[in-house]
Amino acid sequence: MTQSPRVLSYLDALNEALALEMAADPSVVVFGEDNVGGHGCDGTMGHAWGPTRGLHNQFPKQIFDAPITEAAFVGAAVGAAATGLRPVADLLFVDFAGVCFDQILNQAAKLRYMVGGKAKVPMVLRAMWGTGMRRGAQHSQALYSLFTHIPGLKVVAPSNPVDAKGLLASAIQDDDPVIFFEHKLLYFGSRGVVPEERYTIPIGEAKVVREGGDVTIVAVGRMVNEALGAAEKLAAEGIQAEVIDPRTLSPFDFDTVYASVEKTSRLVVVDESSPRCSIATDIAGTVAENRFASLSAAVRTVTGPHAPVPFSPVLEDAFAPNADKIVDAVRSTLPSSVISKAS
């Protein structure tokens, strides 16, 4: 892909991917609450604020508003996908999966298998996630481990604009149902150079975002930047961390993690969700099972606590992992001689 100097926000990169995919394929349809933002009190259209903003001008037949009926419109996405469309349904917050979980768990994920492969379900379910916006317990969760657990679903969680655009394009072109996690704090906070042309980033490929030989840090979504911050602090102490962004959680690119752990012999996994049955424990357990001999220290995880996400800014900040917590976890994997030498 050619480099362009153009800088986009994460939110605008998603908008561009939706536009390019709708333009390329008239069977791509986009819907959800306020995806157009239509028919406000003044009767005009176009009050969307999220990644779909403005798209109705260019694609009036491919994007529409849905009433607040997640069970109906997520289920409709399944039925539409199985009969010839490529729907991109917008859940808004992933927390709202609670009101339509059957459509995801029992319909989208299982349809192809139950009918012996005689149907496919090429749909995308977009969902905001994550802490940091002071939205409280029902609008801040990191529920990707729930979906990763379910056979039949693919789960994607990009950490930056260039990956967001390429992975959303891949998700829309993919023939399986994909849950696409968009971290709400990255929408405006993450900016980067994004190529203007249509491109894809393969689902299932992790990216080594920083090379290092002393410890491997695997971090998801917003935590990638925290891990990079931790790596800078550790570098000042002479400890070189390798940071891996999995980008996709199902399928998961264990090979890239294994290769790194074989090199570093230490692993820290950073995950914004609660710890039990989490992506963090899944990665930690799988590496321990398959690369035990490569490890020279216990795998460490840095996660939120086993508690709902609190509202108060001071409490929410204490909930989420950050660079300092990651640094502490990395130190706990190192022999005391290394730490004392560094300090």
Partner: protein, 325 residues
């Protein structure tokens, strides 16, 4: 209640309607018998008694139209043209079944015939039918979608949401509520407070009618009207069909202690849609008998074929989870 009358249907269409209903009846009666031998695995919900609903509704549809079915889906599948040999193999969990043995009774589907699948979740088919209707609308195809749900499923949130979505998006979809009197063992007198589901559709601004689900011609007339409305861009409709089931909720499980004394016997004696159809259709005894013989032989073949069919390869366990992974 519509008058029982053969109406405008021609002889071929009448014979086809009878063949469909008679096939469903023979299929279900035979499955009931076979289940009793212990050879059939799994959960099986029989449709006998409600045949006029599936036949009447699907009789109004074309090959390109879609149906989304329920856990009690054999009748819908047969009425939409699914192959009964493949269906019977599916019930036995055999290779060559409708879903290659991976779905079973509750997931029989045939996308080539527009049968989007039976569904193990009450009202599971309602959002799916909205989706296939959306496909038709967006791609400007002339296809109509039908969602079958039971009386119990009519209480599901996803069903209410689907009614709303279908009206907001003006989807070419017909909701067919089959009121067989019971949600498992709970009577409609309790769970619907004895009220018609049609009234709920009206609250969403959707045309709705209540018909005698044992009267093929009444069902067919209501379906013709609703399907035409949907195909002409007039949006969704709801048809509530009342027809009792001859068997329990589920084979091998339900002793039907909740049903009134002699209730099933009365249904079979007074509300058998096949008997009513035969009397009203003006088909001759010979014509009906010819269908009976053909249908019984076909079901016999299906059972023998299913019993003799091989089980799926063990590798099937891991195929079809994804298109690619």
């Amino acid at each position: 209640m519509a008058t029982e009358s053969a109406g405008p249907l021609g002889r071929e269409e009448l014979i086809e309607a009878y063949r469909v209903m008679r096939t469903i009846r023979a299929f279900e009666e035979r499955v009931h018998t076979e289940f009793g031998t212990g050879e059939l695995p799994g959960a099986v919900h029989l449709y006998a008694g409600q045949e006029a609903v599936a036949a009447g509704v699907c009789g109004a549809l074309t090959e390109g139209d879609y149906i989304a079915s329920t856990h009690r889906g054999h009748g819908h599948a047969i009425a939409k043209g699914c192959d009964i040999n493949a269906m019977m193999r599916e019930l036995y969990g055999k290779a060559g079944g409708s879903c290659n043995g991976k779905g079973g009774s509750m997931h029989i589907a045939d996308f080539e015939r527009g049968m989007l699948g039976a569904n193990g979740v009450a009202a599971g088919g309602a959002p799916l039918a909205c989706g296939s209707a959306l496909t038709a609308k967006v791609l400007e195809r002339p296809h109509v979608s039908v969602a079958f749900v039971g009386d119990g499923a009519a209480n599901q949130g996803s069903f209410a949401e689907s009614l709303n979505l279908a009206t907001v998006w003006q989807l070419p979809v017909v909701f067919v509520v089959e009121d067989n009197g019971y949600a498992q063992a709970t009577g409609t007198r309790y769970h619907l407070r004895g009220l018609d589901v049609a009234r709920r559709a009206e609250a969403y601004g959707m045309p709705a009618v209540v018909v005698d689900g044992t009267d093929y011609f009444a069902v067919r007339a209501a379906a013709d009207e609703a399907v035409k409305r949907a195909r002409d861009g007039g949006g969704p409709s709801l048809i509530e069909c009342q027809a009792g089931r001859f068997f329990g909720h589920m084979e091998g499980f339900d002793q039907q202690g909740y049903r009134g004394e002699g209730e099933v016997e009365r249904l079979r004696a007074d509300a058998d849609c096949l008997v009513r159809f035969a009397a009203a259709s003006a088909l001759s005894t010979e014509q009906l008998a010819e269908v009976d013989v053909t249908v019984d032989a076909a079901v016999e073949v299906a059972v023998a074929d299913a019993k003799a069919a091989p089980v799926p390869e063990l590798s099937e366990l891991l195929t079809d989870v994804y298109v690619s992974y």
